[in-house]
Point group: C2
């Protein structure tokens, strides 16, 4: 049943796309209808239109998946593949000189989205997935993105419960607030065993042409052999190189905090 | 004006997404309305809904661009990022041992879409862009994808004018047909200066679990130092490695030609 009968057709179509998640990338028609809160005949009609256009593809198993055409249109997002293409040479350089994990992320509302990741084969395992989301308060890239986010975003994150991933995750709002000030003071963030007990990440901001922080880059290394003070300049230099390729005239980010 | 007043709302929403191309990734509202063939008030309403969801983002310049949320949903396409994630380690190995350009592509209707590319910094320049399209009849990956495409796709391509990129592009349908038979016989394709006069590519198929060819991988090298017969086994081995990671039980693709 349509739980919100006043919804526009556009919102119903988008609700069908929302039904797909990294954990459920393949859905039957009835699963789709249920997740989008649409009556089956309505869902069936919209899904057929989405398949005809290529936004969805129907597999031999009868399940629907996100179609290549949607990936193709999505690849035009400047904050997705556009940023990735500009950042990749610098990320590869950072990988070549460290052989550690290199990550690139942007903020979407009160979470981060991983745009690219170079996973060191012999480096500490990382759980991140390109296109995947994560909370802002625990990872190095998240702390950078939060430190330079608009004040209302920071307040929203600080007001909500802060999920604990390890005993070292900062879940006290006051401590987190002081940590963010420190990130803005030093220009880099360190997440020391705050996501997993074996990893430490060092992250730095990437600025757009207007000087605002638009993304963050990090190195994720095995905690036991990590020296954040030695890694920070390396990551900061990479962040500045990418900022320059984005056309930023600023050396340092303008704080929004 | 709405050129097709009988169009469904879904198709109007999708027409707004269709308006964005690699050549025009940022559009004003009136450009969007014109390209989608929608009256301005209709376009304005739909665009506002797409912005609210995150499918589009409005820049400081007032132009609309594809939003990160659409990239995020698009990243769930198995034939896009899913394939790329499985293929990347093998593509990186191929790059490490050759330092040449490595490309990954899938077929979408009668064209190919580049899913990933590792560009050798000192290798011959390639024009391809991840998410970009190209004709099937000229590149190595295109010839592989066409050789194993369903017969109706082959006939459609052979019946249409075949664009000439260089004096060596095969534009004669009979010659192309014989070339495709040769690709199926040998299990690899060679495009020798058929796209640009300085490049040669060698491509091989990637098979899905059912044995059908689902993608193609290629090495693109400077033509003057290329030895296709030496490169072919390398590319074919990479194609088989990726096929295995896709779960294919077949050693060789089943021909659809």
């Amino acid at each position: 049943m349509d739980a919100q009968p006043g919804r526009s057709v556009t919102s119903k179509v988008l609700a069908l796309l929302d039904a797909f998640t990294p954990a459920s990338p393949a859905l039957t028609l009835s699963e789709l209808a249920r997740r989008a809160e649409l009556p089956l005949p309505t869902a069936s009609r919209r899904v057929a239109e989405l398949v005809a256009w290529g936004a969805l593809e129907r597999g031999d198993d009868g399940r629907y998946r996100i179609g290549l055409r949607l990936w193709e249109v999505g690849s035009l997002a400047p904050r997705g593949l556009g940023l990735r293409e500009l950042a990749l040479p610098t990320m590869e350089d950072l990988y070549e000189v460290t052989h550690e994990n290199v990550q690139l992320a942007v903020r979407q509302d009160v979470e981060l989205v991983f745009i690219e990741r170079i996973a060191g084969r012999h480096a500490v395992p990382v759980l991140t997935r390109v296109g995947g989301r994560f909370a802002l308060h625990a990872t190095g890239v998240g702390l950078v993105l939060l430190a330079y986010a608009p004040a209302e975003v920071q307040e929203q994150v600080l007001a909500a419960p802060l999920e604990r991933y390890t005993p070292l995750t900062i879940t006290d709002p006051g401590r987190l607030r002081r940590g963010l000030a420190e990130v803005r003071r030093t220009g880099y963030a360190v997440s020391d065993r705050q996501v997993t007990m074996d990893a430490l990440s060092v992250a730095a901001p990437i600025c757009g042409p207007e000087g605002a922080v638009v993304a963050a880059i990090s190195l994720v290394v095995a905690q036991h052999r990590a020296d954040p003070v030695a890694l920070a300049p390396l990551v900061q230099a990479a962040g500045r190189t990418i900022s320059r390729s984005l056309g930023t005239p600023y050396g340092l980010p303008r704080s929004a905090g």
